[in-house]
Symmetry: C2
Subunit: 344 residues, 2 copies
C-alpha cells in the first residue's frame, strides 16, 4: 500500500485515529522491510539481504535447509572495538598485580615487568607472543566457573578510556542488527574468535544473543580435579589446545560445528582462512570483511587502501585484493554504517 | 478411560467402526502416557520419568530452563553394541589393505601385521595402544568431507557377523526412545564418545537424530590445505588433539558446549568422569550406567557383579560401588529393557 492509498483509506475510515493507526502499521512495516536500519543502502547491505532471501526462501534454487544455516563471526574488530588493544588483554593486564602477588617470580618476565611499570611505550612495544604468554599466565589456574564469574564481574566494571563506557557498549550496532536478522531467518550465529573461548562466553549471551555452545575461540587444556568438598571441577591449564586464529578458525569450526558456514564475517588477516573455508563450500555463500576506515567515529587502520598500519587487526592490501578477486564484500565503516554504536 | 468404559462408549456409538476408533485412540494415548515402551517398569524407568518431570515442569522447584537442558550419552556400549570390538576398529581393519598399498612400510607394524594375517587370536591380543595407532594411521590423511563419505558408504554395507545386520541396526531401542523423549521435553541430546568425532558424525543424524554439532568425540588435528582446484579443505592429521575418554569427556563437553550436563549416561569406566562432572553441578541431575548383564540377547561383561571381565567397555566393581554410593542409576539390560533391538 503506497502513501496516497493509505491516506485515502484513513480518510475513508474517518479521521485522526485511523491515520494514527495507519502510521503505526507503517512503522511496523518499515521495520519489517528494513531489518538493518543502521546500514546505509549500498552494495554491502544489498549483498546481505539478497543472500538471506536466496538461502531462506523455500522457492529459491539456492535454498539452504534450516539445519545447515550457519553464520560465523569474528569478534574483535568485527563485532566490537579492538583498538587500541584487545579487551581480553586489558583484562589480563588488570590481573597482573594479583597474579604477581601469588607468583612473585613472574615479575621478572618482560611482559609483566612492562605492565607493572605502567610505561605505555614499553607496553606498546610488547610482541604478540609476549602478550600471549602473559595471557597464559594470568588467565589460567582457576576452574572454568570461577573464571567465568571473574570475567563477568570485570567486564561490568571496566571502562574503555576513550568513550568512558563499558567495553560491551562498544559493540557495533549494525552487526547486532545483522545477528538478529540472521537468527530471525533461521541462521545459527556463531562467534569464532582468536580471543579466549571462555572469556567471550562470559558475556556473549546478553551482549550478542550468542549462547556458550555457539562460541568458538582459543582453547586451553582443562584438567579434571577434585575440590575440597569432593566435587570435581575443570581447571584451566596453561596449555594451548587450539589457537583459533588463521587456519585455526576453520579447524575450530569443524571441531565444534562439523559444518561449513554459509556466511562468514571477519575484519583482518586472521579471518582469511575462515572466509576461504566458507566460500569453498560452493553454492550460496557470503564472505564479508569490515574495513576500519573511520578514524572519527571509531579507528582507521589497514594498511589496505593507504590506511595506517596496525599490529592489532591488520587488514593488509593483499587481503583487500583477494576479497576483490574472490567476490568477497568489504564493508566500509565510514560509508556503509549509518550508526556505529547504539549510544550514538 | 478404562477398557470397560471405552467398550461401553463404543457400543453406545454403535458397532465395529467406533470400537476400532476407540482402539486407535487408546494406542495413541498409551504412547503418550508411556514414552518409553521398551523399558520395563522399575527404578531405572522411574528415575528417568521423575527427572524429566522435575526439570521440565515450570511449576517444579527443580525446573531447568530449556537453554540449559543438556543430556550427554556415551555411544559404544551405551547407545549401540560395542562387542566383540568397537565398530570404528572394524572400519579401520577394513581399510588396512588399501592403506598398506599406499604406504607399504606400515605392513611391518604389529597391528597391521596382525590384521593382514587374519589371525583372530593375534588380533585379539593387540593392546588398545596398538589399535589406536592403527586407527591413527588408517583414518587420517584425507579431507573431512571425503572421510565422512567413506564412513557413510562403509557403514551402509558392513555387517555385524553375529546378527548379520548393519551395525546401525544394533542400536538399543530403549535408548532411541529415551533420546526422543528427552528431545520432546526440550533437552538437547549430545553424544560424547571415545570414538572418533567425525566417524560418529557420518551417521549420527539418521541413526540417533543427533546432528553433527552435537557429537563430541576424540578429535584429530586438522590441516587447512589448498586443493588442486584452488579450493581449500580440512585434512585429518595423525595428531591427537583430544582423547575424549575418561577426564577427556568433561573436557570435550566444556570445549564444545560450555555447559554442565543435567543428565549423563554411560556404561564403562571411561564414562566415570563425565558422570561425576554432571553430578557435581548440584540440583537436579541424573547419572546412569548400562550394565551389560544379558549374554543371551546381547553380551555379558563387567567385571562388576561377577560378570566376565572385558577389555572393551570395562565396568569394574569399583564403578558399581561408586554408583551405589553416589546415587547413580545402574540399568540392567536383562531386567530393565523389554526389548533391546528394534528388529526383535
Amino acid at each position: 500500500m503506497d502513501l496516497r492509498r493509505r491516506e485515502f483509506a484513513a480518510l475513508m475510515l474517518g479521521g485522526a485515529s485511523a491515520l494514527s493507526l495507519a502510521g503505526r502499521a507503517d512503522a511496523q512495516s518499515d521495520r519489517e522491510s528494513d531489518p538493518l536500519p543502521s546500514w546505509h543502502a549500498g552494495p554491502a547491505k544489498d549483498a546481505i539481504v539478497k543472500f538471506v532471501h536466496a538461502t531462506t526462501d523455500a522457492a529459491s534454487p539456492a535454498f539452504v535447509p534450516p539445519a545447515e544455516r550457519v553464520a560465523t563471526f569474528d569478534q574483535d574488530g568485527t563485532l566490537w572495538v579492538e583498538h587500541p588493544i584487545y579487551t581480553q588483554i586489558v583484562f589480563a593486564f588488570d590481573r597482573v598485580p594479583q597474579v604477581v602477588k601469588e607468583r612473585p617470580e613472574l615479575a621478572d618476565e618482560p611482559a609483566f615487568k612492562a605492565v607493572l611499570s605502567g610505561d605505555r611505550e614499553l607496553i606498546a612495544s610488547l610482541s604478540m607472543e609476549e602478550l600471549l604468554s602473559l595471557v597464559g599466565a594470568t588467565l589460567t589456574g582457576m576452574d572454568v566457573e570461577t573464571y567465568r564469574d571473574e570475567v563477568a564481574a570485570w567486564i561490568q566494571d571496566a571502562r574503555d578510556p576513550r568513550w568512558n563506557r563499558p567495553y560491551t557498549d562498544l559493540v557495533y550496532q549494525p552487526q547486532i542488527e545483522l545477528l538478529q536478522y540472521l537468527r530471525a531467518r533461521g541462521y545459527r550465529t556463531y562467534i569464532v574468535t582468536g580471543g579466549g573461548q571462555d572469556f567471550v562466553r562470559a558475556y556473549s549471551e546478553p551482549v550478542y544473543g550468542v549462547p556458550p555452545e555457539q562460541v568458538i575461540g582459543t582453547m586451553f587444556g582443562l584438567g579434571f580435579q577434585p575440590r575440597a568438598d569432593g566435587k570435581s571441577v575443570l581447571v584451566r591449564e596453561p596449555k594451548l589446545l587450539l589457537n583459533d586464529d588463521n587456519a585455526g578458525k576453520p579447524e575450530g569450526i569443524h571441531l565444534v560445528i562439523g559444518r561449513r558456514p554459509q556466511f562468514a564475517f571477519g575484519n583482518s588477516t586472521g579471518d582469511r582462512q575462515m572466509l576461504e573455508y566458507a566460500e569453498a563450500g560452493g553454492g550460496p555463500r557470503l564472505a564479508m570483511l569490515v574495513l576500519h576506515d573511520d578514524g572519527e567515529r571509531e579507528y582507521a587502520y589497514g594498511p589496505a587502501r593507504g590506511l595506517p598500519d596496525s599490529k592489532i587487526g591488520t587488514f593488509p592490501q593483499s587481503l583487500y585484493d583477494q576479497a576483490m578477486k574472490d567476490g568477497w564484500t568489504v564493508v566500509s565503516m565510514k560509508s556503509d554504517w549509518k550508526r556505529i554504536f547504539a549510544f550514538e
